[in-house]
């Protein structure tokens, strides 16, 4: 039995779990998630696949505490997720986000963008800088540290977003179409880098993607349609 198969068959060791999660918008007129059950294991990669509007991003937002489910529960390391201020703050250090649009602040440099999570966490400046150097070396961005975001290519911007997401050494990385805005070649490069980083850092990756070829490189593939998740 492969590792992926072994973990997919049991959710007992899940670090992240959604149980019977429902979510709708516009006072229930737009139903997005209809009783989703989902789990992800420590250090494993999971791809969420499905057509646009099937609820991939919504599930990621709920898993990362950016939004609340209408019904059902989300738990992190076995503890239910609470959206209180202190819980959310802790959650931000345990969970990193990468979005399709890089969501970097254009007026800041690459270095400053990457350091934002460490400012939020109040990390010691020297430690933050050491971590920055480590990540930018691995993503090949060291020579671009003082460049403003506007001067970076699409691939560089997404790699910067990846560095920023990993600055506080999160245990879970939630990636919403991280290569969706890149060309095929760059997309492949960024995805390879993403897999390499999560593997070396022992991070759990949950990635929403349209790209089945990329999804198949993950340990598990979860299909989403009609607001529900199915193991593939």
């Amino acid at each position: 039995m492969s590792d992926a198969a072994q973990y997919s068959s049991s959710s007992e060791l899940a670090v992240l779990r959604a149980a019977d999660v429902w979510k709708s918008y516009d006072n229930g007129s737009i139903k997005v998630l209809n009783g989703v059950d989902f789990h992800a294991h420590a250090g494993r990669t999971v791809a969420l696949c499905g057509p646009s509007g099937c609820g991939k991003s919504t599930l990621l937002h709920l898993l990362g505490g950016l939004d609340e489910p209408d019904r059902g529960s989300i738990s992190l390391n076995g503890a239910p997720l609470r959206l209180s201020r202190s819980s959310l703050r802790l959650l931000r250090y345990q969970v990193g986000f990468v979005f399709q649009l890089h969501n970097l602040i254009p007026d800041l440099t690459l270095e400053e963008n990457c350091l934002i999570p460490t400012v939020a966490a109040g990390t010691n400046r020297r430690q933050a800088h050491a971590r920055l150097m480590q990540l930018t070396e691995r993503t090949g961005l060291t020579h671009r540290l003082d460049q403003r975001i506007q001067k970076l290519s699409g691939g560089e911007r997404q790699r910067t977003a990846l560095c920023r997401a990993l600055m506080n050494r999160p245990r879970i990385l939630l990636a919403d179409e991280p290569t969706g805005s890149l060309d095929e070649h760059t997309s492949g490069q960024v995805f390879e880098l993403l897999l390499e980083l999560v593997e070396t850092e022992g991070i759990t990756l949950v990635m929403a993607t349209h790209d089945r070829a990329l999804a198949e490189q993950c340990d598990r593939l979860v299909e989403m349609h009609d607001g529900r998740a199915y193991e593939s």
């Binding site: 937002h61 703050r89 602040i105 800041l108 999570p117």
Partner: protein, 370 residues
């Protein structure tokens, strides 16, 4: 450093808007500083008239204005003879108008009054003062606007007087006024045997409290106050000071509304950025701190510019001939601190709603915001 850069960056992004906000605060601060300083200067000058070579002032109890106060000559004379008193001078204040000038302040004084003695006589002789009831002495500015010289005849109110001399004083009110012999002034203002106040100098300042009690016991209709006490309690000074702060406060309120508008716009234009910061762990306190920081920077920059503009305006007003002696260009430290403090409070108050709005931004919705 990055936190500070996030604050500054937003101000730099919208330079014109930021400058307009800073200008709003600056002009409010300048207006407040100018109005308060000028009025305080005026109050200081007026109190300077009263305290000329004296420590205490005796006047009629419960009068709203010293112009309505009546102190009998006999009381002044007796008080002056008390063993603790070095001298007591009767002074009668009156206001008249001429064809060109709606207000001319007249001072009815005795020849021994410090105003006559300490002034610089530009023409005429102080020894001749009060020798002739029809002669008056003009302050330098009064001589200018009445177009008078020593020996000429001037129309003051319903009376016509010969100009004995022209004096220069450090006090704007006195410089723009007319000094009459006390008796002449009493006749002119129909206050025979009365003066407005008695200014008193004691042989020993320590006896001030005892002197005040003695006046109260001997003349229940009169009150004696030390100059400092008088300045703090005189209702006209209180009204002037309150008016100055109120006018300045209104200016600052307008400046504060400008800051509030700027900060609201600032939050609206950076909703997505705030969401990004939220997703990356920024707490409510940090988000609010960013908004308040931006507002505080605008306020501090505005206050600094306002202090400079205000000081320049006061300095320039000092050289306007018509205001000669009226403007005290010395800006008091507590006024500066109060004005800057008020500017900062106003700016921060202006950021309250924007900060409240900013911390309520939900990242998931804001990230969809373009």
């Amino acid at each position: 450093m990055i936190f500070f850069k996030l604050i500054v960056t937003n101000l730099q992004r919208h330079r014109v808007r930021s400058l307009i906000s800073i200008a709003g605060i600056a002009f409010s601060v300048a207006a407040m500083l100018t109005v308060v300083t000028i009025l305080q200067g005026a109050v200081a000058m007026f109190s300077g008239i009263l305290s000329s070579d004296s420590e205490l002032i005796v006047f009629e109890r419960n009068v709203s204005d010293l112009f309505f106060s009546n102190v009998p000559d006999e009381a002044v004379m007796r008080i002056g003879a008390w063993p603790t008193v070095q001298h007591a001078n009767a002074v009668l204040f009156g206001i008249v108008s001429s064809s060109d000038h709606p207000i001319i302040t007249c001072f009815g004084v005795t020849p021994s009054d410090a105003r006559i003695h300490n002034a610089t006589w530009l023409s005429g002789s102080r020894d001749d003062f009060a020798k002739d009831d029809s002669q008056v002495v003009l302050g330098e500015r009064a001589a200018e606007f009445l177009n008078a010289r020593s020996g000429s005849r001037v129309q003051i109110g319903h009376g016509s007087f010969n100009v004995l001399g022209i004096v220069r004083t450090a006090n704007g009110f006195e410089d723009g006024g007319v000094f009459m012999p006390l008796g002449t002034a009493q006749t002119f203002f129909h206050k025979q045997g009365l003066s407005s106040v008695a200014t008193v100098k004691l042989k020993n300042k320590e006896n001030a409290a005892a002197f005040e009690r003695a006046v109260q016991a001997r003349y229940p209709n009169l009150i004696a106050l030390e100059d400092k006490e008088f300045n703090q309690s005189y209702s006209q000074f209180k009204i002037l000071t309150a008016t100055a702060w109120a006018v300045g406060g209104c200016g600052l309120l307008l400046g504060g509304l400008g800051v509030a508008n700027t900060m609201i716009m600032s939050v609206f234009t950076r909703i997505r950025e705030i969401a990004i910061l939220r997703v990356n762990g920024f707490s409510n306190k940090q988000i609010a701190g960013m908004i308040f920081g931006e507002s505080a920077l605008v306020s501090v920059a505005g206050a600094a510019a306002g202090l400079l503009i205000g000081w320049m305006a006061i300095f320039a007003l000092k050289f306007v001939p018509a205001l000669h002696g009226y403007v005290d260009a010395h800006v008091r430290l507590y006024v500066m601190l109060a004005v800057v403090g008020l500017a900062c409070i106003t700016g921060i108050a202006g950021a309250l709603y924007p900060a409240f709005y900013a911390v309520r931004i939900r990242a998931v919705e804001a990230l969809r915001f373009e």
